[in-house]
Amino acid sequence: MNELQFLTWTRGPGLDIAVGIFLLGVLWRLIEIYTLGRKKDLAAPRHTAGASGLHTVFRRSLPPPGMLKRSPVSYIGGYIFHIGLAIIVFLGAPHILLIKNLVGLSWPALPSQFIGLAAVVTMAAMVVMLADRINKPVKRFLSTFEDWFTWAVTFLPVLTGWMATQHLLLPYTQMLALHILSAEILLVVLPFSKLFHGFTLFGSRWYNGRVNGHKGVPV
């Protein structure tokens, strides 16, 4: 298999398989989670200002008092790389084109140099966060294989995409094929790992906020 055949495979059957597994996993898990249901709380609801699902969705996006000082890397680095990923995935011209081809929606793109800058900043933030995870004894103790694995699976598409556009290490064709392959691995891993938080994040925050709001506790 030469590199053009490899690229064509990743753009064809590879993408087909990855999107298939992604859809299967996402629908399976979403339906399973949201049909679990919970016992009805028969206690009379207590009303407190700021205690509701919606409040919690927003409140948990901000660090609780004092936490930003205690672990600045987690908050600042976390924000930077999540926003960076969103910019790269949703505002890079080739990515928009892929989305347009898959679901028919499209919107204007940012210049490729800006996307390149976003990739560098994102990778820097991710590397700092990895170093922090290795350095802090508590974080390291709490880390499992899944944490290291999902970090790598998220990092690789950014790295290979950036290297492809900058013509580093390998010829563009091979690097582009590796980039698409790494993104496909991310698609396959996402529904079955903690990366699924992309789908459950706001739902679970709402749920926690709602349950506690019923008890009159603004969390």
Binding site: N2, L4, G12, I17, L24, V26, E32, A93, T173
Partner: protein, 359 residues
């Protein structure tokens, strides 16, 4: 043709100055030092006239057309005067047995010294019966001719990589020259067709230095195939700015914006079109408003639609709908199982009273 090449060129109205300029341009295109232009001019005008045998196999004659007619009347065409083209079916006057005799005479007289040019792929299916010349299969002729060759030049994508005849499902079992010839130096000059100056550049290099130019991992001269079309494209700034033509006749297309979204394969195609251009430097595909097809890359024919962007799926998704249904089905099944478990637990639940605890 008799006498030095420079005399012949002079008879055809090509001045010494023009010829020197041509050699200097050729040398600079091949990334050779400035002095090489002069060396080329000297070597070519003195003209040792090496024998060249040109074998056409499963091809469309487009490569020959490209080289002989693109800049007519051309210096490129006249460069053929500096070689002794002893066998070329399209160009030679002889036919039938006379042609075969010319081939065998050239092979015998110049054994070990002639350059073998091949265009077209070689079919291996049905013992090579898909393409025969004078009752002999292409594979037989190639093996015999390659034995006595100093080097083999595979002209065009078919000879270099199998090209269109090798496209899926490859009914004739077509292969490239390098699939069959293993013990001779081979230069691949892919393209459908290849750029004339690339071919004459390789010939001039061979005549001047007695060796073949530096090649990349696919056997292509690095000086011509070192960069991608995309990297050398004059529309590249529009790519970087995110300005794309969406259709072939929209405002973007009229403004000359990037053709990436219309399926241009420039980013993955190594060739010199963007710098050398075609038809005497007049234009080239992207300049005329059409994206690059990627014709100088192996198996370009099977690389998905010419009109689909590189970042778009090569084929329509086949599993997505089925996978979504299976996923939803699995979700519903698991949720039903969970509910059954929950109601079973509820049904078997026994209420504990104070009396029970005091037992």
């Amino acid at each position: 043709m008799q006498g030095p090449l420079i005399d012949t060129l002079a008879r055809r109205g090509v001045t010494r100055r023009t010829f020197l300029k041509y050699c200097a341009t050729l040398a600079s295109m091949m990334a050779l030092p400035p002095t090489a232009g002069r060396a080329m001019a000297e070597a070519m005008s003195a003209a040792r006239r090496p024998s060249v045998i040109w074998l056409p196999f499963q091809e469309c004659t487009g490569c020959t057309e490209s080289i002989t007619r693109s800049h007519s009347p051309t210096i490129e065409g006249m460069i053929f005067d500096m070689i002794s083209l002893d066998y070329q079916e399209t160009l030679m006057a002889a036919a039938g047995h006379q042609a075969e005799e010319a081939l065998h005479t050239a092979m015998k007289d110049n054994a070990g010294k002639y350059l073998l040019i091949v265009d077209g792929s070689i079919p291996l299916g049905q013992d090579g019966a898909y393409s025969c010349i004078g009752g002999r299969s292409n594979v037989d002729i190639l093996k015999e001719a390659a034995q006595g060759a100093a080097a083999v030049i595979a002209v065009g994508s078919c000879a270099s990589f199998g090209g269109i005849p090798k496209a899926n499902p490859n009914p004739t079992g077509a292969v490239s020259v390098s699939d069959l010839v293993k013990d001779k130096p081979i230069v691949n000059i892919p393209g459908c067709p290849p750029i004339p100056v690339v071919m004459t550049g390789v010939l001039a290099h061979y005549l001047t230095f007695g060796s073949l130019p530096e090649l990349d991992d696919k056997g292509r001269p690095k000086s011509f195939y070192g960069d991608t079309i995309h990297d050398r494209c004059y529309r590249r700034p529009f790519y970087d700015q995110g300005k794309f033509a969406k259709t072939f006749d929209d405002e973007g297309a009229r403004q000359g914006w990037c053709l990436f979204e219309l399926g241009c394969k420039g980013p993955v195609t190594h060739n010199a079109c963007a710098t050398v251009k075609w038809n005497g430097g007049t234009s080239w595909p992207v300049e005329s408003g059409h994206g690059c097809l990627g014709c100088s890359e192996p198996d370009f024919w099977d690389g998905g639609s010419f009109y689909k962007a590189l970042s778009a799926p090569a084929d329509p998704l086949k599993f997505a709908a089925v996978a979504a249904v299976v996923g939803a089905g699995a979700g519903v099944a698991v949720s039903v199982a969970n509910r059954v478990k929950k109601s079973a637990a509820k049904a078997t639940h026994e209420t504990t009273t104070l009396a029970d605890l005091e037992k």
